[in-house]
Symmetry: C2
């Protein structure tokens, strides 16, 4: 029963369905953008107010925190989805302010190795703690039991988008 109500399992979709799907996709994208903008803006504001620090700088420290022996500079753009040209002045500033060091490799003089300093690590830990509690504060109203479910959905979305970008 209920055979007639089933939509065809494969393409081609009717114009109406296609339009509805377009709209649903646009809604999803706008919501995604709104959530991210909202949270990102608030986190950035607090970083600035509390620590006079920016998120890109924090992101770099976060990567280095897990690498006691430092990281090849070229690894950072890959991990942070940031362009290399963009990274140069950020790293410059972090070095200048004493959070990290940048030393040329002996084996390959093109390569630079960046490494967190002791003070850098200390500052990072302090900021990371605040970051965590800010996030907890912002997300407190969302049911804890559904955090993981939403995360998996987004994981799937990310995978789908990545696949779509790889193909053509």
């Amino acid at each position: 029963m209920a055979v007639a109500k089933e939509s065809p399992p494969v393409s081609p979709k009717s114009g109406v369905d296609q339009e509805a799907e377009y709209r649903a996709q646009t809604r999803l994208w706008l919501r995604l953008l709104a959530c991210t903008t909202l949270i990102e803006g608030e986190l950035r504001r607090r970083f600035r107010e509390e620590f006079d620090f920016t998120m890109p700088r924090f992101d770099v420290l976060a990567q280095l925190d897990r690498e006691p022996s430092g990281l090849v500079l070229g690894e950072l753009p890959k991990r942070l989805m940031v362009s290399a040209g963009n990274l140069t002045p950020i790293v410059d500033r972090l070095v200048e302010d004493g959070y990290i060091t940048r030393t040329p490799s002996n084996l390959d003089r093109r390569v630079q190795i960046v490494c967190m300093t002791v003070e850098g690590r200390k500052a990072f830990r302090r900021m990371a703690k605040s970051h965590g509690s800010w996030l907890a504060e912002l997300l407190a109203g969302f049911p804890a039991g559904r955090l993981d479910g939403l995360t998996s959905e987004l994981d799937e979305l990310k995978g789908a988008v990545r696949d779509a970008m790889r193909k053509p």
Copy 2:
């Protein structure tokens, strides 16, 4: 049965639970950011390549497209979640390129009214069409039947974050 396994219905949470929730929240935030960055980057790239246009400019046109009689300039920062100072040069460029007009109000000489031109509207329609199909292409791998569900979850998340930001 299974009484002992139930977690207490209200706070205070145990340290372990609190830590687990922190991690889940952080995971969600990182995933959210990754999805948005991925899609946004790709859309921006295509806008640039196909139309030599940026997304903020497109966003302004999108707002004006629905307002045949134009919009008070001050409305745009509110709708687009963009600072006013940021908008000025964007509007400047759009006026310069003939997509919109900016005319001072007769009633209040502080106020400017921005309005799409005929060519602006034409250009916008063309770009909006591409935008829609790019998005469809990127999201094609995500099951259509779950678009709305994910959108509602994000809606709820957005509401929760907004509430958290309003309170303190």
